[in-house]
Amino acid sequence: MSVEARERRQPWILLSPALGAVALLLLIPLLFIVVYSFWLRSAVGPDTVGFHLDNWQRALTDPFYRYILLNTLKIAAITTFFCALLGYPAAYFITRSSGNKLILLLLLMLPFWISYIIRTMSWINILGSSGALNTTLISMGVISSPIQMLYNEATVILGLVHFLLPFMVLNIYVSLDGIDTNLEDAATSLGATRWQAFTQVTLPLSLPGLAAGGLLCFVLGAGTYITPLILGGPRDAMFANLVFEAIITQLNWPMGSALSLLLLLVLGALVAIYNRFLGMSQLTKGLG
C-alpha cells in the first residue's frame, strides 16, 4: 500500500468507531421506530408487524394529544421568553463588567455541573408547604396556614427557566463578546443616546446569539418530561410525558414510536427553519 493510500485511509479508521456507534445506536434505531410506528400493539403476545396507519391517525387527530402538543409548545415559548428576559441583561453585564468577569463566567458555568434533578427539586424546598416561602409568610403573620404554591403550570415554567437560563446567558454572552465596543462608542459620539446606540447597534448584532439561546431553550424545554413530573400537577403533562406513558406505563411501543417521531418532526422543523436562516455554526459556538 502506498503512503498516500494509507494517509487517505487513516482518518476513516479513526472515525469508524464513533461513526459506527452513532449509526448503530441512533440512526438505525430512528429508522427502526419509523417502521415500528406502523405496527400495532396486540393485547397479548408480540406487536403485530405490518403497515397500519392507526397510530399515526390517532397521534394526529386525537384532540387530547393535540391539546398537549399545543400546550407543550406554549410552555416552551413562555419559558424561552423568560430566559431571554432574565438572561439578556445578565449577559450584557458580564460582557461589559471589568473586574469580576472571570468569576461571573465561572459561576455561569456552574449550573451545568449541578444535577438537573437537584436543581428541579430544589424548588420544593422554597415553595413547598413547609418550604422557605410559606414558613416566612407564616412567621410574619401574613398567612395562617401554608398556601399550595407548587404543582401547577407556573411552577413547571419556573423549573424550566431555572434549568435553561444558563444556556441562554451563555449564548448571548458569546455573541455580545464578539461585538467591538467601539461601535457603540462611535454611535454615541455621532449623537445617539446610549439607549439608541444599544437598540440600534448592539442589540441587532447580538440577535444571532439570542436566537441560538432561544432555540436551545425552546427545544430542550419542549422535550422534557421530568420537570412536569416533579413540579407539575396531574394536569400539567407535556408531550414527552405522553411518550413516557405510552412506552413505560402502557407498554404500547408502536404508539410510543409514533408519538416520539411526531415530537421529533415538530422540533426538527423548528431547527430546520433556524438552520435555513442562521446556520448551525452559532449553535456549536455556544456549546463549545
Binding site: 494517509e7 479513526l14 468507531p17 452513532v22 437537584i118 427539586m121 424546598n125 422557605a132 422534557t224 411518550v243
Partner: protein, 261 residues
C-alpha cells in the same frame, strides 16, 4: 436603564440561579427531623442516614461504574474521531461532524425510545448494557466538541519533528501526541462522567427494574415527599459533579506550572 440597575438585575438573576441550590445544601445540615424550615441546629445525621441506606449506596455504586465506563468508552471514541477531524483532510467534514453531534440534536426522549426499542428487538432488553450504550451515545457529542476545541490549539510541528527524527507514527502518538493531548482527554472524560452521572431523562427509559442510579433514586424518593435525606444526597452529588471538575482544573494548573508552561 443605568449601569447600577443592570448590576442589581444581574445579581438578582444570579440569586435566582443559586439560591434554591444553596437552600438544598443548607437544609441537608438541618437537625429538624422533618428536614424543613425552620432550621433548628447543625447536624450530620442525614449524611449518616445516607451512609446506612442500602438502596442509596447501591445507586451510588451503579452510577459510579456506569459513569466510569461511559467516560472510558466515550472518550476513546471521541478522541479518535476528533483526531481524524482536526488532523486530516477528510472529505465531507461538515456532514461527518453533524452526524457525530446528532445525538444531542435529537431530543433525548426520542433517542431514548429509539435505542430502547431497537436494542430490545436485537435481543438486548432493559439492562446495564443498554444503559451503557445509551450513556455512551448521549455523551459522545459533548466529548467530541470539547476535545476538538482543545486539539486545534496543539501545534503539529512537534509531532513532525518526532517523525523526522525517526520515531514511528505509533511511537509519536504515545510519546508526543498523547501527552500533549492529555488535558483534552481529561476534559472530555470528566465531561462524559458528569453528564452520565447526572442523566435521568434517558436513564428512566433504559434502566432495568430494581436498578437505580443516583438521579433515579432521588426521583423515586421524591415521589413520597421531600425528605432531608434527599437534600443530603443532593449535597453529595453537588460535591461530586462540581468538586471533581474544579479539582481536576486545579491539578492541571499545578502540573502546568511545574512544567513551566
Amino acid at each position: 436603564m443605568g449601569w447600577a440597575a443592570i448590576r442589581a438585575y444581574t445579581i438578582l438573576v444570579y440569586l435566582f440561579m443559586f439560591l434554591p441550590v444553596a437552600v438544598v445544601v443548607l437544609l441537608s445540615f438541618n437537625q429538624n427531623q422533618f428536614g424543613s424550615f425552620p432550621m433548628t441546629g447543625f447536624s450530620l445525621r442525614w449524611f449518616e442516614a445516607l451512609w446506612n441506606n442500602d438502596a442509596v449506596m447501591r445507586a451510588f455504586r451503579t452510577s459510579l461504574i456506569l459513569g466510569l465506563l461511559t467516560a472510558l468508552i466515550s472518550t476513546t471514541l471521541g478522541v479518535l474521531a476528533s483526531l481524524a477531524l482536526v488532523r486530516y483532510r477528510v472529505p465531507g467534514k461538515n456532514l461527518i461532524t453533524t452526524i457525530l453531534i446528532a445525538p444531542i440534536l435529537v431530543p433525548e426522549v426520542v433517542l431514548a425510545v429509539a435505542l430502547l426499542l431497537f436494542l430490545n428487538w436485537l435481543g438486548i432488553g432493559k439492562s446495564f448494557a443498554l444503559l451503557l450504550a445509551g450513556h455512551v451515545i448521549f455523551t459522545l457529542p459533548f466529548v467530541i466538541l470539547v476535545v476538538q476545541a482543545r486539539l486545534v490549539s496543539i501545534r503539529r510541528d512537534v509531532e513532525e519533528a518526532a517523525l523526522s527524527l525517526g520515531a514511528s507514527p505509533v511511537q509519536t502518538f504515545f510519546s508526543v501526541t498523547l501527552p500533549l493531548l492529555m488535558p483534552a482527554v481529561a476534559a472530555g472524560a470528566l465531561f462524559a462522567f458528569t453528564i452520565s452521572f447526572d442523566d435521568i431523562t434517558g436513564t428512566l427509559f433504559w434502566k432495568p427494574g430494581g436498578v437505580e442510579t443516583v438521579p433515579t433514586q432521588i426521583f423515586s424518593m421524591l415521589r413520597d415527599s421531600i425528605s432531608p435525606e434527599i437534600n443530603a444526597l443532593g449535597s453529595v452529588m453537588i460535591v461530586i459533579t462540581v468538586g471533581l471538575p474544579l479539582l481536576g482544573a486545579a491539578i492541571a494548573r499545578r502540573l502546568a506550572i511545574k512544567r513551566g508552561m
